[in-house]
Amino acid sequence: MKPCELTLADASEAIAAGELSPLELTASVLERADAVDGHLNAYATLAADAALHAAARAQEDIAAGRYRGPLHGIPVALKDLVDAAGLPTTASSRVRAHHMAATDATVTARLREAGAIVLGKTHTHEFAYGLITPQTRNAWAPDRVAGGSSGGSAVAVASGGATFALGTDTGGSIRVPAALNGVVGLKPTYDLVPRHGVVPLSWSLDHVGPITRTVRDAQPVLAALTDCQQGPGALQTTTAGLTGIRVGVPRTYYFDHVTPEVEAAVRTALTHLRELGADLVDVDIPMTEYIHAVHWGLMVPEATAYHEPTLRSSSHLYGPDVRVLLEAGREVPAGDYLRAQRARTLMRASWGRLFDEVDAIAAPTVPTTATRAGQDRIEWPDGTTETVSDAYVRLSVPANITGMPSLSFPVGLDTAGLPIGMQLIGPPSAEATLLRMGRAYEDARGVLPLPAVHAS
């Protein structure tokens, strides 16, 4: 196995044991990224020289006894919304083509402090305003979409072109590409991870979080991102069974308009959770008829408000799909924005009551595996259709509206060989519980292997 194919946890153990150097690992990951990125196009900017230099420094520090912990010497890719000093933050948009970050985002600084090696910046759907990332290809099938908006980050991790990555999630943008590329995505509780230095899409819905190969890998990254001061055990997840954990299984919403293969894989994963000791409890999801309206009522005017200055000065530089959405957002009345905020109050309260009954809710992350590039709509057996983006966002959005954490991890492949993801949603600050559950599943069922990526 090449170093670039190691999980974060395995690479970290090898570095700590002196069996692998940060320079060997970083060189291997850069070599893989260089070999595959010609056709996957995960990266917007690859800062190879700076990464190798940082890896050499990490190697010297570790050799001198200054080991910083599990991220020391581990290569990370940053979604191109996250500032890294000396690199452009383009948001994959011509609007920011000449941008250069003077300082690190808080999350970048925290990762560097933990010893991580910044490889570069990964592509996003322009300004994170979309679920496709059309310039990037799926790591499992290049004719399929990467998902978005953190498509570049998920593809980089899934292809071995990064040991882990950061994404952002406003309506599923960490979890959707993670699910479509067979990796793990964690959207933490709102405000748990600082957003300073990260280009916003919608302030009240935006979250920053990790994309990793495994659930086990997500834990040390979250600890570093949250600047966990309570020591390495504070966010440590136990690998004990799941006895006593109550898992809510939605009777409504989450299994509506889902492909049979996705539903079967998730329901099979639920039986595995039960075998690990969890109690499965049927639950009804509240206010489902208002989810779409609340999400758009919040996101659309907030996105337009952020972009108002550049819409006035350089609207021609936006891609057509994003520009239309931003200009149309000017037509949302203030009363409707407030109505969405008030509905969010009710939705949070009703979801809070749901978590009096269960510790987590398990559901598909997305209703279907990766669609073919260029496909616009999905037709369901009952004759209804929806856009691919609406379908991908549909099951992720409640956790953004409520601010509750959600962990997506792979639970199998469909008959076309494409990954299927399941998400666990918990009450605020329940990350340790979600990671414990995901880890228990992963330990019992194994880790999805890397896809067979071909050099370009």
Binding site: Y190, S204, A293, V294, R342, S429
Partner: protein
């Protein structure tokens, strides 16, 4: 590596903006059927203290 972001295919047709705006407002209008009573808005969320 392709560092170029997607190129715009030209300015949007105003009708397209108007149609998109109508669609967005139609989706959001579902909230008009919701009895909000005296519920206050929840601008953002504070994990430690709830709504703020």
């Amino acid at each position: 590596m392709d560092a170029s972001p997607p190129a715009p295919a030209g300015p949007p047709v105003p009708d397209e903006v108007a149609a998109t705006a109508r669609h967005i407002r139609a989706v959001i209008s579902a909230l008009h059927a919701l009895d909000l009573g005296d519920t206050p808005p929840a601008p953002t969320y504070d994990a430690a203290g709830g709504d703020r």
